[in-house]
Amino acid sequence: MPVFKDLDELIRNLIKKEEEKIKRIEKEIDKEFERLTRTFQSPLYSFTETENEYDYLIDLPKVDLSTLKVEARYQKLFVACKTKDGREYRLLISLPEDADPATTEVSRAKWLLRVSIKKRR
């Protein structure tokens, strides 16, 4: 453990180390998501923002809804599914900083998949 002359310097150093650790984890997550999405078709999507939430409208023609998987964590939205004719869609979207992945709601709207994520207060 290095020696610091004052507490402030010690804390700054600890924070820097924690930030570096988080960045490393983020890079690993990005790499993993990239690996998962690399060989699959990417669906079309549209993005809208209201005062309280973010809405992602995703077009998944011929989707087999029983295979649909939607995950939001680490400020990433990941959507995967199979189509009725055996193809696979995968989508990875970086979420805005103030999006709260814990509030993710998934619904069907017309022919689209709607993923709504609330903004942090």
Binding site: S46, L57, D59, L112
Partner: protein
């Protein structure tokens, strides 16, 4: 001066008045979905292709193993369809407008009709899609007003491939109006195309069922998602990041 060729298989026999329907990819692909459906359901015959290597990317559309120009012309007894199977580069919209007007003059077209989408914020919750017209002359505006098939667009702006066409056609004394239907901006919108087709069928006087278009919507969206991806890259260039038609 644009160097291009219209490679004709044959000269179509057309009755008067002759309509030229233009389907170019833009908001919601409303125009191209409509024209592709017309080609298929009315059994329009392909009779020519536009070869314009100076203004179009080096892409051929391969159909049944045969490479063709991505911009082709189809016809029946009183209608020509100008259909593009690729997004028009923003740098080419003015030359394309000139080519469309040349086509109209070559085949003695009476009316050029363009079809496009009007992106609206709450498209997802819209139960009824409104349709508007934008005309290139007062005479035509009076006629469209009298028919009452759509509302007048009123004041606003139109950008993208259909904007210069209105002026080019006017310069050449050819009537041109745009059927503008509320739609998504960057997702294919067959529902908006169905609204446009209903209007077109009443205006020109042909019969078409759009029920099948809505039934086949899933196949259409699947087939044209690549074109939508390509088009959404061009959309911001058409109007400096603004929607294509906005009031």
């Amino acid at each position: 001066m644009i160097h291009y060729e219209i490679i004709e298989k044959y000269q179509p026999q057309l009755s008067k008045p002759t309509y030229l329907i233009v389907g170019l990819p833009d908001a919601g692909l409303v125009g191209v979905i409509a024209t592709e459906y017309l080609i298929e359901k009315l059994g329009l015959k392909e009779f020519a292709e536009v070869y314009a290597p100076e203004i179009l990317p080096p892409i051929s559309h391969v159909k049944d193993g045969i490479a063709k120009s991505p911009i082709r012309l189809y016809h029946n007894h009183n209608m020509i369809i100008f259909h593009s199977w690729i997004a028009i580069p923003s740098t080419s919209v003015i030359p394309i407008a000139k080519i469309i007007v040349d086509v109209a003059k070559r085949y003695n077209v009476s009316y050029i009709i363009s079809i496009t989408g009007l992106p609206i914020q709450d498209r997802l919750n819209a139960e009824k899609l409104n349709a508007y017209w934008i005309a290139n002359s007062q005479d035509l505006a009076t006629e469209l007003q009298r028919l009452g098939l759509m509302e007048k667009f009123g004041d606003g702006y139109i950008a993208g491939p259909y904007a210069p066409l209105l002026t080019e056609a006017s310069k050449n004394n050819i009537y041109n109006f745009v059927v503008v239907v509320e739609s998504f901006l960057d997702l294919p919108d067959p529902e908006a195309s169905a609204v446009a087709l209903n209007i077109l069928s009443k205006y020109i006087g042909f019969s078409i069922s759009v029920d099948e278009l809505l039934k086949e919507a899933e196949d259409i969206r699947d087939r044209i998602k690549g074109l939508m991806s390509q088009t959404r890259q061009e959309l911001p260039n058409y109007a400096l990041s603004r929607p294509l038609t906005y009031a």
